[in-house]
């Protein structure tokens, strides 16, 4: 900073930032790749002054100064251009001359990202590392009491059901009498959760669809993918691959004009319809696609003008009571596909989730309930919503399952858990823990982005700029210069690898518990945790 520059309250030093750029003049070739690639222009070409003292041993000649300038990389301290730690500069540097490092203390920046009274807005996840799910252990191992199963050789059927399952007596009666039996899908317990076309780049979307199609058609693993609220490309709507897709409708109804018009031309029914009432990352807030990302393609699919921000309202405008309007919406959606497609709501984790669930138990058309916990991700939201709003998923799912058990409907309304599953990299263990707490399956987003596409975002506030369309990996960008970085085939391949390794790990968990032919939903006697309060709350074993 120059000496005559005024200091304002928001004048920050490098030390006040969360990420500092360490640059090595020795290694730098001044190629300029880092400054060109930085998604937030946090670094620029710097001109530095260098004074050197030139001592002299000759008493006749006094010591002198030499003055020089040199070029290098300078990090900006303007909050608008703060470094987000994505390390894309490091990635492109041919000489390993540059690296972001995390500040050793809490940054001061956080007090200043509200210029103009606009609170911080970002993408990503809750900036709190770790999860109670990581602490759940699988403690019931069949050994000498029984031969344990062999994850590598025995027959496994790790499938779950999505749809309203009738009680056995009624099911058989309706079968005899030709009554209406609600549609039920046999799917893989790992669902790729709703990430919209718009939030994700076209390459990312295509890659996920490609990977899902491969998993289904070549490997026989019935993984399903949810569209999120952003419609669905017209060709996919009219293709046989639609059966692997869960169409989401949310409060902005984006893309639904296109979908409804495509119904007569659909070759296959979609897997299901998800009505999004809430999202774990930003409970009580609608969806948001910021204007940067609304290009002509997105605008066309969503049926809106280009270049404007697209907020969906916090709630469905038609929704005035759960008893009537949720029921009506479920019914309308069911009717649109001739009652052949399961329709279920998705809500954010909340202490009022049981009221919603209780209501659904009385609605014969409700095909399930997806609950998205506080660790869910998003393309764009207020920081405060992401970090402080929402309910942990574990206790919500457990309460939900126990409520259903009390009603005897534990097999009738499948619960799907979302939000932070695999956030520490333990995808299969987290999923299995939730299944044993009572979930029928899990919805996963961020973890797939990290594993399949190399998202660098983290809970220590790294990157998380999915909202501004500058995703350095091209995952959440609509700029072709960025998303061309994403090789569609390579991402699809990574998705397949990720699911296959998940599958092996899941078997490695359930086989020693003596389970193989049915998913151990609600098998809470198999798990424990090293925290007495958590054990009490979740009604599982306390183990130390």
């Amino acid at each position: 900073m120059l000496a005559d520059r005024p200091i304002t309250p928001s004048t920050l030093s490098l030390k006040d930032l969360p990420w500092q750029i360490v640059w090595d003049r020795e290694k730098c070739t001044l190629c300029g790749r880092c400054t060109a690639v930085c998604p937030v222009q946090a670094i620029e070409l710097g001109v530095f002054r260098k004074r050197s003292v030139v001592p002299s041993l000759d008493p006749q000649r006094p010591p002198a100064n030499s003055f020089a300038t040199y070029y290098g990389i300078r990090q900006k301290t303007d909050p608008a251009c703060r470094c987000v730690g994505c390390a894309t500069c490091t990635l492109v540097c041919p000489n390993d001359a540059i690296l972001p490092v995390h500040s050793d203390e809490a940054d001061k920046l956080r007090f200043h990202i509200n210029a103009g009274g606009q609170p911080r807005n970002r993408g990503g996840r809750r900036n709190v590392p770790g999860s109670i799910l990581d602490r759940i252990k699988f403690t019931r191992i069949s050994m000498l009491t029984d031969p344990a199963l062999d994850a590598g050789r025995h027959e496994f059927e790790l499938r779950t059901l999505l749809g309203r399952v009738l009680p056995p007596e009624k099911n058989l009666q309706f079968l005899r009498e030709n009554g209406w039996i609600p549609p039920v899908r046999e799917i893989y317990p790992l669902i790729i959760g709703g990430m919209s076309f718009g939030a994700l780049s076209p390459n990312m979307w295509e890659a996920l669809q490609l990977g899902v199609a491969y998993l289904n058609e070549e490997l026989g693993i019935p993984v399903r993918i949810c569209t999120g609220e952003g419609g669905c490309p017209p060709r996919l709507l009219r293709s046989r691959f639609l059966k692997y897709v869960i169409l989401q409708i949310a409060s902005g109804y984006f893309g639904w004009d296109e979908i409804i018009h495509a119904i007569p031309e659909m070759k296959e029914d979609p897997c299901a319809i998800e009505i999004k009432y809430g999202q774990g990352a930003k409970p009580g807030d609608g969806g948001l696609l910021m204007w940067y990302k609304v290009n002509r393609l997105i605008a066309a699919i969503r049926g809106v003008p280009a270049g404007v921000s697209l907020p969906s309202p916090p709630t469905h405008q038609t929704q005035y009571s759960i008893e009537e309007s949720v029921a009506k919406m479920i019914l309308s959606m069911s009717m649109a596909w001739g009652f052949r497609v399961p329709v279920y709501p998705k809500i954010s984790g909340t202490s009022t989730a049981m009221a919603v669930l209780n209501n659904l138990t009385r609605n014969p058309y409700a095909a399930g309930l997806a609950i998205d916990g506080e660790d869910g991700g998003t393309g764009a939201a207020y920081n405060v919503s992401m970090d402080h709003m929402g309910h942990p998923i574990a206790s919500n799912i457990r309460d939900g399952y126990k409520t259903l058990v009390e009603l005897g409907q534990q097999n009738e309304i499948p619960l799907f858990a979302g939000g932070g599953i695999g956030k520490s990299g333990n995808l299969a263990a987290n999923a299995a823990a939730l299944i044993m707490l009572g979930a029928s399956g899990v919805q996963v987003g961020k973890s797939i982005m990290q594993a399949a596409a190399g998202c660098v975002g983290s809970e220590s506030d790294r990157c998380n700029i999915c909202n501004i369309g500058q995703c350095p990996k091209g995952i959440t960008s609509q700029d072709p210069r960025l998303y061309r970085r994403l090789d569609v085939d390579a991402v699809a391949q990574r998705l397949v690898d990720t699911v296959l390794s998940f599958d092996t790990e899941l078997k490695k968990i359930v086989a020693p518990l003596g389970r193989s032919t049915s998913l151990p939903i609600g098998m809470a006697d198999a798990i424990g945790i090293d925290d007495a309060h958590a054990a009490g709350r979740l009604d599982i074993r306390f183990v130390v």
């Binding site: 069949s142 059927e157 005899r176």
Partner: protein
Amino acid sequence: MCRLFAITSQDPLSPMVAIEALDVMREGHDGSGVGLFLRDLGGPFEEIKDAPILSGIFTDAGLKRLDAFMMDIGFMTKYKLSIKVPKAVPPGVPRRDVYLIRAYEYPEEWDGLPAAELQRRLLQVRLQLRHMGEEKRDMIVFSFWPDVIMIKEIGDPLTVARYLRLERKELRARVIMAQGRQNTNYAINLYACHPFFIQGLASMTNGENTAFVPIREFLASRGFDGYIGYQSDSEVFTHILHYTLHSLKLGLEAYKHVITPLNDAAIAAHPDAVLLRHLKHSCRPLIIDGPNCVIGCLLDHSLFMVQDRKKLRPGVVGGRPGRFAFSSEICGLDAAIPDRDKARDFQPMHLDTVIIGPDRQEIRTCSQTDPLPPAP
């Protein structure tokens, strides 16, 4: 692992046949308990086939409470088999006041009740007695059903049988099921001893039931009074059988489809694919998933055996017309029916249900891939 033995014979047999068969399989159980289920009785019970028989263990005080209770609801004792036990109790066997086997005359008001209602009331009486007994710890009730006797006790099977003098001639039956207990994860409690009984159906199992907790939760939430207990993870097998036959009104052939459904590819190829898929979905929480061999007895006196989906347990059936037996091990079979054609012994595999019908003429095998018989 527990050892199981069951026999069905044209001529009434002493339960000692089964106890001796268990004894030759001694290596497989630790003598921590024995359970006996006798049906199609001979001896003095031959004449009173319709009279419900109460089997259980009582303290002297419990017996008084029982008498008062039964009198109150109008049951009159018709016949009783008194087991007087010697003063010296063998080691490992608890001292009891009364082992009760008592046949009753129905109350007059029950005359002409439809069968279903009669069965419901018999269950209610048994449950009521069980609750009373649990309250004061003075009675343990195993069964209350016509033509059925059950005896269970802690200790080595042969020791217990000799102590109770089970060879007595009043105790003869054409169908006998016996289990020698290997105590594993649950504390010894007589309600945890096999065979289990509900409304005329009985079954016994070996192996650990890994899916026990979700199954128990599912059964307990069916709203049926009889689905209680579960001191043993194997009791659910009896209740699933009951649920399949009574609530779902399916035949025994469907039982295996409930507890160990076919995989999706096999269902798709099955002539009853639609029914089986619905059954698999709606009965999903009843899938047992464990290594288990189940032997059971139906109301019509048929005996059957099924294995888990992977056939991880031993089990064999063999015999000759008029006498067939199921056993965990072939040596048990050899002890009970040495004069059989061993070449015809059959070890049911992962798809089989084997049934010896009430006529005891042959081993009937049905595979899960066979079409289901039309609904009864």
